[in-house]
Symmetry: C2
Subunit: 578 residues, 2 copies
Amino acid sequence: MGRNLLRVSLAQINSTVGDLKGNSQKILNFIEKARDQESDIVIFPELALTGYPPEDLLLKPQFLQENMETLRSLAGQVKGIAAVVGFVDVEDDIFNALAVISEGEIRGVYRKIFLPNYGVFDEYRYFQRGRETPVFLLNGCRIGMSICEDIWYPEGPHLNQAIGGESQILVNISASPFHVGKRELREKMLSTRAQECGAIVVYVNIVGGQDELVFDGGSLVFDEKGYLVVRAKVFQEDLVTVDLEPDRVLRSHLQDPRRRAKKLDYPSPPLVEISREGRHKSRKLKKRIEPVPVQEEEVFRALVLGTRDYVRKNGFEKVLVGLSGGIDSSLVACIAREALGEENVVGVIMPSQYNAPSSMEDAHTLARNLGIKTFTLPIQEIFHAYREVLKKEVFKGLKEDVTEENIQARIRGNLLMALSNKFGWLVLTTGNKSEMSCGYATLYGDMAGGFAVIKDVYKTEVYRVARFINNSKDKEIIPESIIKKPPSAELRPGQKDQDTLPPYEVLDAVLKAYVEKEYSFRELLGMGYEENIIRDVIRMVDRNEYKRRQSPPGIKISPRAFGKDRRLPITNLYSPFS
Amino acid sequence: MGRNLLRVSLAQINSTVGDLKGNSQKILNFIEKARDQESDIVIFPELALTGYPPEDLLLKPQFLQENMETLRSLAGQVKGIAAVVGFVDVEDDIFNALAVISEGEIRGVYRKIFLPNYGVFDEYRYFQRGRETPVFLLNGCRIGMSICEDIWYPEGPHLNQAIGGESQILVNISASPFHVGKRELREKMLSTRAQECGAIVVYVNIVGGQDELVFDGGSLVFDEKGYLVVRAKVFQEDLVTVDLEPDRVLRSHLQDPRRRAKKLDYPSPPLVEISREGRHKSRKLKKRIEPVPVQEEEVFRALVLGTRDYVRKNGFEKVLVGLSGGIDSSLVACIAREALGEENVVGVIMPSQYNAPSSMEDAHTLARNLGIKTFTLPIQEIFHAYREVLKKEVFKGLKEDVTEENIQARIRGNLLMALSNKFGWLVLTTGNKSEMSCGYATLYGDMAGGFAVIKDVYKTEVYRVARFINNSKDKEIIPESIIKKPPSAELRPGQKDQDTLPPYEVLDAVLKAYVEKEYSFRELLGMGYEENIIRDVIRMVDRNEYKRRQSPPGIKISPRAFGKDRRLPITNLYSPFS
């Protein structure tokens, strides 16, 4: 094989925030694997060493120092291959950086220049911007390197690295959080970058769940014409190794007159030598392009990964799910089973006088279908005890209302938490995004728990994902009766969600426009629904910020989730219908 | 009186976030009052029109537009006086800005240049930086204007305005959140600025509570030598009017050789004419320097203001406080009574078999001393009902542990929330910062409620503030027996806080060093306490991030509070004792 063939491994790992030792060990393991594949260089994601995002750990000098020491110790163990590792560079300030390591030494560093400070990102809170756009030399090949946000700007460092620095390869290491539609956007953008820079783009994304974020992996290589060459697996760790041909890039440059015309506008970047030697390759590699899932599967897998990592990284083994016989808790139970195995999911059935017997049967059927254990804890007696205490004096002569509904939901919350406290199992809550938006949930009741799996999934999406699950397995998992019956909280006789909320198709459309797209009142009216529905939805969303603020974290799957992504004040007298 | 006397009103108002109409009306009222005092110019705080901080309201185009329309309409109503109003300037981007208004028109705008993006601040998320440092001309006097963070930098716009632009007066409008020690820092810094710029500094701060923040007012004027001339009231609205003598400033400039030597280094800033006419002054004014409270009083007043504004701005009339006969709930009840009046505070006493009869007596005594109504709701029967359901199967044969303690706390939470739901009263929670740090509190139990009044007050400070209250009133408010007895959650027989936690003097010292100052493990050991105490405290703080994330908002009084101020991941495997 030719001298100018470069073998590159994309090490798409699942780091854990703060776990310097564990991450370092994982990085060394992947370096070993890549060396076994005779790679010249192995590339890890953004902040692979610290996990992403480390948030205010970055304000702890001890943590920063240990991150540097861990990197140096790791570098000392790298032999016979080059490695690119994301870490926090600490000098006169701190930088989101990558180190290029070869033969036991750190040969060079690149510091991220474009720092995201919007949506879920707060990088200006922590990092200083980098100033340099170095090009690294490996076995005669010129490689420009950048970090995540850098490559989303057309004028990012890659442009100077490619045109001024004649890089044949542009490496970008990322921690790019998943939302529906993000992968398509990202692939299109990277293809464009490859084409407009006339360089091979190697994009290595982190994978895994971290609190409210899921990173979907799906690392990529595009050739210098913008064609997809490699896609790693999505939603799981992967190591993909590919043979790149830098010579092809130079040939295409010579044939690109627009590119040559621009060249004098770009200064020559500093050059950093990694190594002059290529490694011997005993066999050729096949290129691997993993398929991408359809949207419902993508959401399901994001939720599974987010749940598994939240549970496992926080040291829990088992989880509890309150099963009501409704669609939300059924979906959450399915996700938990997929994430953790049937032996680690316990369903808790807590019937009251208002539950239809069919709901309890549905809950049992679901549990049987999933093969999970259940406990049954009836709540009538406890509810009775509350009523007795309250009606003696405080509520004497008052009519029942939503208060009594909430008491029941909070009894269930208390029971679930009692099991959690006694056995050390994590409670998964089951509220969906439609409910979280409207406050159609009881604080400390059905909102009580450690992780809100489907918090960012609208009710209409809940049904779509449920149907996907049933279709993708050989047998019915979620009983059809659960999917078909009208949704109800069953906290008073004959209650239905649609007594209180607009039809979910309408509600979800309005919510998406208001919560995610910040439509004005006038624009919302332009959607063609009744004005009083629009007004009700806006009022419900705005008034329930206080509830959302106390809800457990849950997995972001939309472009704008509740949480770090949408920071509205609780005390807020703004009304869009003035 | 001389031509060059400038009468300036500092309008220290309490805006409400989002309430464009209400804030605008309040601004017009204060303008009216300042005109009655024959002022030449009246100055409002940072973002007075929108309230501070508006957070993601700034991502709503409709809100931004209405803020512009409200400003224009307000400007049209300003006659016979100039006014400086903080607003969001919307042009090609959005800016944290001030408008200088005179005779019905906006004469000029200044846009904040230094945007804070640390601690509780996220201004890079929203605003573009300003580029210009204009100087405004009013009746021959040159006034440089800047916004909050700008003046905390020695090289801020004021320097160019003062030296390059020969401003005699430097106006800074602020929304500077309170914490203990901040006022002293701020006054020292502003005095330094006045002196080093050789200009009168007029500093107008906002006042009031907004979610977790309290703005303490205490607006200031320093003369060109750095001497304090005016201090407005702290923790309340105020309008202070002062006569300034710009001629004195020029005289002092001529005598300052170092200042004259620097002058050529600073470009001439753009000049904006506000008005050539001074107003007739019929009488001379006395200067007013309000006193400042001692630290315990300062904390008490911050908590009172923060509580009042959270309750009132969110539309509540009454609040509920669970009274245990302990020091925390007693302090919270005192704060609530001071904030809202005795008729708006309801104490709820919820005895169990583990409560000492003396605790219940203490709670009643406190309520009598405060003149607040109480309800008594015993929890034994309900607790019994839970135990019956659980021991039937799930907990059969298992020993009692912290689970049963939490069940009791959550029964109390459920009862308080039931009253809240039935009557529309807000529940105040009573946990202190020592508990919040260590997770020594029950999620959905004693942590259940709308507002956590003393969340940022360490236990040792709780005692100090309690003693201050008793000393400052003619009679004993908090019974001495409450202050004297050892703290206990009373959730099992004979329980004491110190069975589980280190002595509070030690705990609080370690917490302050770890939580607020980010001491490393080694530095904490250097404090001289036992190593196992240090380890336990660190572990407790780190492990309970998930609880704090679901706690209600509470008032920041320390340099680093839990909440926006300290953003640590929940999923976090970093351990400082590796």
